[in-house]
């Protein structure tokens, strides 16, 4: 009795009653997990009808929409999500629908292609979660799989003249490994390069801008280089020509030996330049590494190493900078940066060697110490035997 009245009191408190879930309990389970459930969004917000009615006919009356048609769906979501006034408490952007209409997906839908992705394909239907919720299909680390649901379907993609498996390529590339294996949230998923709501493949001439969003120094060096103009004229994709697109090849100096030869002849001045840049980098890197080993040796003694660590950091910065600088294909620039790294490595090493050599004087001190010790011992033994003789006599 008490329990019943408590239930009644609860039901009365959570007005108005949502009776849709009497017939759709499975939807209710999904919906109540969603971010919408905690806001003032209910079944009728999207589907229309009367949620307080207790018969099917009464509930499905009025502006009842039933199952939402795919082509109507983006506009329906936009009724709230494009309304700046409604979104402002959540600090959410309102331009998604406008962006969507410019996207490949939006344009295909406008042409009546119902295969084009709509909001629910990526965000889910009833169980919509915040994008920073790790369970969400649009969480950074889940986006490649979400996009891959359609873009790795070769039968579906062949209708649009798209081939390959960008999802499989992506997870093998260095961006994919960073995002999915190292869980590095700063690594890009699909949307960082292609856009999210306005998803469009970047044009050939725009690739350096897209990549340059993160690789700013590399872009700055690249646009100065003769490659930029030559590639524009030949209609070659800029960064992707050497690094690939979805399966991004880790930018490694070892690649200089092979990647350049894809366009330039072996033995050409350009191939020679690649080898020169590679050598400059490797030598500087080895010099810094050997200085670092010496610093570790000194740290174990212990000697003061804080200053050397700071200088090694400075050297590493120059060495790291030399990699984007190689995109300028200007030997002098690369030489300046690697030279700086080398000179710091040499400086640290020679200073530390001096300090470590200085410690060898301790051994010399030990020899002198033992000389005096033996003299003392000799004297003591002499005194002792004199004392022993005196006792005998």
């Amino acid at each position: 009795m008490i329990a019943a009245s408590a239930l009644f009191a609860l039901a009365a408190a959570s007005a108005p009653a949502n009776l849709c879930t009497l017939c759709h309990p499975d939807v209710r389970v999904e919906f109540e997990r969603s971010i919408h459930a905690t806001e003032q969004v209910t079944c009728v917000s999207c589907h229309g009808g009367d949620q307080s009615a207790s018969t099917v006919e009464a509930a499905h009356r009025g502006k009842f929409r039933g199952r939402i048609r795919r082509r109507d769906q983006p506009a329906l979501c936009a009724t709230c999500h494009s309304d700046a006034e409604q979104m402002s408490p959540y600090n959410l952007p309102t331009g998604q629908y406008a962006l969507y209409q410019t996207s490949q997906h939006g344009r295909a839908l406008a042409k009546g292609d119902e295969n084009a992705a709509v909001c629910t394909d990526c965000h889910g239907v009833h169980e919509i979660l915040r994008s920073d919720d790790a369970r969400s299909s649009v969480y950074a680390a889940n986006i490649p799989e979400t996009c891959g649901r359609c873009h790795s379907d070769s039968a579906l993609m062949s209708r649009y003249g798209l081939s390959g498996d960008p999802h499989a390529d992506f997870i093998e590339g260095s961006h994919g490994r960073a995002l999915l294996e190292r869980m590095d949230a700063s690594a890009p998923g699909c949307a960082r390069c292609h856009g999210a709501h306005g998803a469009t493949p970047p044009g050939v001439g725009d690739i350096n801008k897209v990549c340059g969003q993160c690789h700013t120094r590399t872009r700055a060096y690249f646009v100065e280089s003769p490659h930029k103009r030559a590639m524009d004229e030949a209609g070659l994709p800029e960064c992707a020509s050497c690094h690939g697109n979805h399966r991004i090849v880790k930018a490694d100096v070892a690649a200089l030996g092979t990647v350049c030869l894809e366009c330039h002849d072996p033995g050409s001045a350009q191939a020679e330049l690649a080898v020169q840049m590679q050598t400059l980098y490797l030598v500087a890197s080895e010099d810094l590494e050997s200085a670092r080993r010496l610093v570790e040796e000194a740290a174990a003694i212990p000697l003061y190493i804080e200053d050397y660590l700071a200088r090694l950091e400075e050297g590493s910065t120059s060495l790291v900078e030399s990699q984007p600088a190689m995109h300028s294909v200007d030997l002098a620039t690369v030489e300046r940066l690697t030279g700086r790294a080398r000179s710091i490595g040499h400086e640290v090493e020679s200073e530390l060697r001096g300090k470590l050599e200085g410690r060898k004087w301790r051994r010399v001190g030990l020899v002198v110490f033992w000389f005096y010790l033996l003299v003392t011992l000799g004297a003591l033994i002499r005194f002792r035997s004199r004392a022993a003789r005196e006792i005998e006599t």
């Binding site: 003694i301 051994r363 003392t376 003591l380 033994i381 002792r384 006792i391």
Partner: protein, 378 residues
């Protein structure tokens, strides 16, 4: 000139003698190993000493009697270097490691003092251990030397505690994890475990444990060791120096020779410590991290056997029973003079004791090896 200086000294001694009982004071000091015979404290110092010297006395700064005075010498080195280290050391987890780093790196000859302290500690324990075995195999725990034996065992135990507490002070990974293992072991001992937890006040090695270890290391344990040395040497003065069964007693007046032996020994000990500190310096470990156990972390060498012993039992033997066994071994070794009551001291007369001692020694080495192989698993 010489006569005037001599008379001046005499008069100074005389002047002091009228005001202080110099013989009493000298007698107290010699209880720490300087003088191996009893003094008549009612007589003036000079007379008392020459009277004592006229009695026959074996020179004992020689093998194997040297081990006793050697341990005192090493203790003196530990005391002097310890005081020097204490001028810079700060016993808190946040400061300890940095202060030791500062001693080793920044203070002039700090590395030297630190190394001497470390090597002297190892040598001190080793000498006490070897001395214990010598006393056992030469039957030097038999009447009237029962107390000397018990003091020797307790001195070794106190020294291991001094070493263990010292290992933590540097707050480096090796010392920290040694302490963790030792604390774990102590807690598996019935009676002694609860006593230990009362003294140290916690299962976790934290700032208060560091502070308490520090205080034990710099005050309580050195004080205890001093008291034990005092007990030992006053016992020696009463029952006489140890001698092997076939030893010939030496003539009188050998004290001066003995003093020279002592000086030679001091010089040799100092030379050895300096050489070790310079040529094979002990490693400087990285800072302690309670959340990561470095590879190779294990109990200190003198605890390896006990640890190996505790862990070698099959799982159904409860820990308290293993601990109880360990404690009974400890009790037997302290009370040995009252268990082995036979009189003979030659190997022929000790047909049971010598083989038993050898078996225990081999077992100790075996369990040390087993304990060494039990590295801590992070």
């Amino acid at each position: 000139m010489g006569r005037r200086a001599g008379s001046k000294t005499r008069s100074l001694t005389g002047w002091l003698e009228e005001r202080l009982n110099l013989t009493e004071m000298f007698s107290f000091l010699t209880n720490f190993g300087l003088f191996p015979a009893e003094l008549d404290t009612r007589r003036p110092l000079r007379e008392a000493v020459s009277e004592a010297l006229s009695r026959p006395m074996p020179s004992y700064a020689r093998w194997p009697r040297v081990l006793g005075i050697l341990s005192v010498l090493l203790f003196l080195f530990l005391g002097v270097t310890g005081v020097m280290l204490a001028f810079y050391y700060q016993p808190t987890p946040s400061e300890a490691y940095d202060s030791v780093t500062a001693i080793v790196r920044d203070v002039s000859f700090g590395w030297f003092v630190h190394q001497i302290h470390g090597w002297a500690a190892d040598a001190f324990l080793l000498v006490l251990l070897v001395r214990g075995w010598r006393l056992y195999f030469q039957g030097l725990y038999k009447p009237p030397r029962e107390l000397l034996w018990m003091v020797a065992v307790v001195t070794f135990l106190a020294a291991t505690h001094a070493d263990l507490t010292g290992r933590l002070l540097g707050w480096n990974a090796a010392g920290y994890w040694s302490s963790v293992r030792a604390v774990d072991m102590l807690y598996s001992l019935p009676f002694l475990g609860p006593m230990f937890s009362f003294v140290v006040g916690g299962h976790h090695v934290d700032s208060l444990v560091l502070l308490r270890f520090y205080f034990l290391h710099v005050a309580v344990l050195p004080g205890l060791l001093c008291a034990l040395f005092f007990l030992h040497f006053s016992g020696v003065r009463r029952v006489g120096l140890s001698h092997a069964p076939h030893d010939k007693p030496s003539g009188p007046g050998l004290f001066r020779v003995y003093l020279f032996n002592l000086l030679i020994l001091t010089v040799l000990v100092f030379g050895t410590l300096v050489t070790l500190a310079t040529v094979v310096p002990e490693a400087f470990h990285s800072v302690a991290d309670p959340f990561s156990t470095p590879p190779g972390a294990r109990a200190p060498w003198y605890l390896l056997a006990s640890h190996g012993f505790l862990e070698s039992f099959p799982a159904f033997v409860p820990r308290w029973l293993r601990g109880l066994l360990l404690e009974s071994i400890l009790a037997v070794s302290i009370l040995l003079p009252f268990i082995d009551r036979s009189q003979g001291r030659t190997a022929r007369q000790r047909r049971l004791a010598i083989p038993a001692g050898l078996v225990v020694l081999v077992l100790w080495l075996l369990f040390t090896w087993i304990g060494y192989r039990m590295e801590m698993v992070p």
